[in-house]
Amino acid sequence: MTAPHPPVDLVSLLAALLTPIVGVAMAETASTFALIVLAWSVGVLVGLLRMPPDEVALGMRPGVRRVGVFVLGSAGLALGITVPMADVLASVLQQVIPAGASITARSLCFVLAWSVPAVGHSWPAVLARVLPLLRFIPIRGGAK
């Protein structure tokens, strides 16, 4: 019998680091949101780098207000929708992917929190491509 798999994900690492500060009871929650903030901050830099220079073309530099709106807006979205979207996506992937039983909502938090600001202005184009594919996903308890 093999030894149990050690927790090697980032949430466990952050939980171990944050336990002395927030306590054992809150370590799991605090580490999840710490991971979301970390992923969001990395994604913001990528998203700002990918930001289309439409205002540069008009002879204006990207203003502090534009960057601030992007930073605060993406922070709100990342903090608000990452956990519920990770839950939904994990349950969908567990049904769709044959070996998807190991996919948990916790493992998707970093990717989702990163992608909210990193995809940034490209979200409408991404959704326009992804949404038509949803009809191929067998939704449990759907229309018969």
């Binding site: 990395v42 830099l45 780098l49 930001m51």
Partner: protein
């Protein structure tokens, strides 16, 4: 205001400065090393804001180390072009004229100024 709070504010302000600079960078004309430097410092600042205690210091110092290592090609053995100090020249001569040394030194200084990098 505790030192920890002040540190958090400073890190947050520095991260916002990095984010604003990243927004101003032109991806097509910027060298990859410069983009790497900004991303590394931004990630390190974010990690330093989240990681507690000495781990935050480790993240920040590692990011700064990587940032400096990314620009070592500009320091092959001397300061980059345009930031170099002009070479110092020493004179050893004797003359009957007490003003001769000053005149020669002034001429040398103006010659060095004319041949060294302008705009610094």
């Amino acid at each position: 205001m505790t030192v920890e709070t002040l540190t958090a504010y400073c890190i947050l302000a520095a991260w916002l400065v990095v984010a604003y600079r990243v927004a101003l960078l032109d991806l097509k004309r910027t060298r990859p090393a410069v983009i790497f430097q900004h991303l590394v410092v931004g990630i390190a600042l974010a990690a330093a804001l989240i990681a507690p205690g000495a781990w935050g210091k480790l993240a920040l110092s590692f990011g700064v180390l990587l940032m400096f290592l990314a620009s070592t090609h500009r320091w092959p053995g001397a300061a980059p072009e345009g930031t170099r100090r002009p070479a110092t020249v020493q004179f050893h001569f004797t003359s009957d004229d007490p003003r001769a040394a000053e005149r020669v030194q002034a001429a040398a200084r103006s010659a060095i100024r004319a041949t060294s990098n302008r705009g610094n």
